[in-house]
Structures are given as structure tokens and as C-alpha cells.
Subunit: 140 residues, 2 copies
DNA sequence: TATTGTTATACTCTATAACTATA
DNA sequence: TATAGTTATAGAGTATAACAATA
């Protein structure tokens, strides 16, 4: 055993990611990034726009548009940081938090069902072990 | 141990997928779907346009545009099936095959490096075990 | 000058709808 | 009529470039 064939692994990972993302978009028209941002605000609390952009591997300009949509829908609030008025503090509104929680089950419906019916408990645990590794790849 | 928390698993999977796809787009401006289609033709051989669309979880109309771009670039050929002239047989050209192989290392560069430097050999093996599970989710 | 964020604009990807050709 | 595929068009998502406000 001389280790893992990294080229093949990387190629398969890329292919699987593309397919899964398309499939998820088809299954439920969900705003992947918006939901991810709301979830992050829920987990990590108030933070600046640029921190969010960095965390999501997006450009600040792209994040600004996401935040505009979320603010328009009343799901987040933006206010200048009193200590540095260039910075905007982004905060989940009560409405954003309740929508995130209320919709979580419905939003994830297809994926939860797919995991439950397609994977054995052992395989689900393999996936649980693998997700932090994928997260680290995304943040590396 | 009562099993895996599927809601949390699904949410984290969604979040990780979005982040990784954005990150990969940033790291190398690669046409994710085109590359996936070329790779599939390389692995599975000549097939119809609709078979490709189904395999990639795309609409036939969307696949048609991908195939148009690939054909314009001379990477695939399209010809009617003699037995059913409604069907188009899609085939990787010599150029498509050589470009796929030649570019594989360069295309995957960032990802290969990230896997090599971020994950231990054991973790890489966990990822190898997890990818077929993700593939099955995408095809379920 | 450097940093944070926004606005304006364009490109990539994929969807829906309508159409053509063949069965 | 039904099926395989294409063309036309639109929308989501994110990028680059230029700008405004603050440090």
C-alpha cells in the first residue's frame, strides 16, 4: 500500500461535487449560499461582511449582493461598527433565525431522505467523518 | 449510540459542498461540468446526449449547450445514431482525450495540493471511502 | 494611502418553453 | 402521438472594475 492516488481522488471529488450541487438545486430550489450565510450567522453570531466573505470563500462584492437580498427579505440587519464605521456588523434578525430553523427540515428534505434511504448507518458515519475533512479542504 | 443526526449531517453537507465548489471555481477557472462530461465520456465511452444529461442530473437542454461548447472546441464529436436518427452519439475526440489527460494534473493542481498538505494519509483514505457514498447520493 | 464596503456590469451555468426531426 | 434533441430566453450566482466612505 503506497498511499492514495491523489489525482484520481481529486478528479472524482470534483465530479461528485458538481453532480451533487446540481442535483440539490434541482430537488429544491434553494439559495445555497444564502442559507449557508444564515446558518453561519446563527452558529457564529454577529460578524462583519468581509469576515463572512472570507468564511464563504467569496469576494466581498459578491457577499454584498447576498447580504442585500437577505436584508431586503428582513432576514439580517446591517449596522456600522461604532468603533470603525467602515465596518458593517451583520446580524441575524429574529425573523431570519426563525425562518432558518422553521425551514431547516423542509429545506433539507430531499437530502435527509436520500441519506436515510441510500446509506447504511455505517456509511452515514463514514460521511460524518469525511465532512470535517472536506471543510478543511475548503478552508485550506 | 442511536445513529447519526441526519438533519445536522445534511445541513453541514450542503454548506461544505457550496463552499468547496466556490473555492474550486476561484482557484482555477475551470468549467466544472464540461470537465465532468469529458471525464465521463473517457470512462464510459460513446453515449447519447440524453444519457449524459441523466448521468449528470441535468436537463437535456442544458446538456445541449455544454455539448455545443465542447464541440465548438473540438473536444467531442456528435453524429446521429444510424439505428435511430433522432439520437445523437457523443464521442470524445482524440483532441478531447489528450486535452483531458494533459490538463488533468494542471486542472486539479490546487485540489491535489490541498489534499496532500491538509489531510493525513488516514484522512485521505476516509475521503476515498466517502466519495462513492456521495456519488450514490447524487444518483439516488 | 490603505481598508471596508457598495454599485455597475458581465459572464457562467442551468432552467423553462417552444420548436424541429424522427419514430 | 411520443421521443431525442436544439434554439431562444431568462434567472441565479459570482466575478471584475470603479467608486465612496472611513481610517
Amino acid at each position: 500500500m503506497t498511499g492514495v492516488a491523489l489525482d484520481a481522488l481529486a478528479g472524482e471529488l470534483r465530479s461528485v461535487l458538481g453532480q451533487l450541487v446540481r442535483r440539490m438545486r434541482n430537488e429544491y430550489s434553494f439559495p445555497l449560499t444564502q442559507t449557508s450565510v444564515l446558518g453561519r450567522l446563527d452558529r457564529d453570531g454577529t460578524q462583519t461582511a468581509s469576515a463572512l466573505a472570507t468564511a464563504e470563500s467569496m469576494r466581498p462584492q459578491s457577499m454584498a449582493q447576498i447580504l442585500l437580498e437577505l436584508e431586503t427579505d428582513g432576514l439580517i440587519s446591517r449596522r456600522p461598527d461604532p468603533n470603525d464605521r467602515r465596518r458593517m456588523l451583520i446580524k441575524l434578525t429574529t425573523r431570519g433565525r426563525s425562518q432558518l430553523r422553521a425551514n431547516r427540515r423542509r429545506r433539507e428534505g430531499w437530502l435527509v431522505d436520500a441519506i436515510a434511504t441510500t446509506l447504511t448507518p455505517d456509511e452515514q458515519r463514514t460521511l460524518v467523518d469525511a465532512l470535517p475533512l472536506l471543510r478543511r479542504l475548503g478552508e485550506s
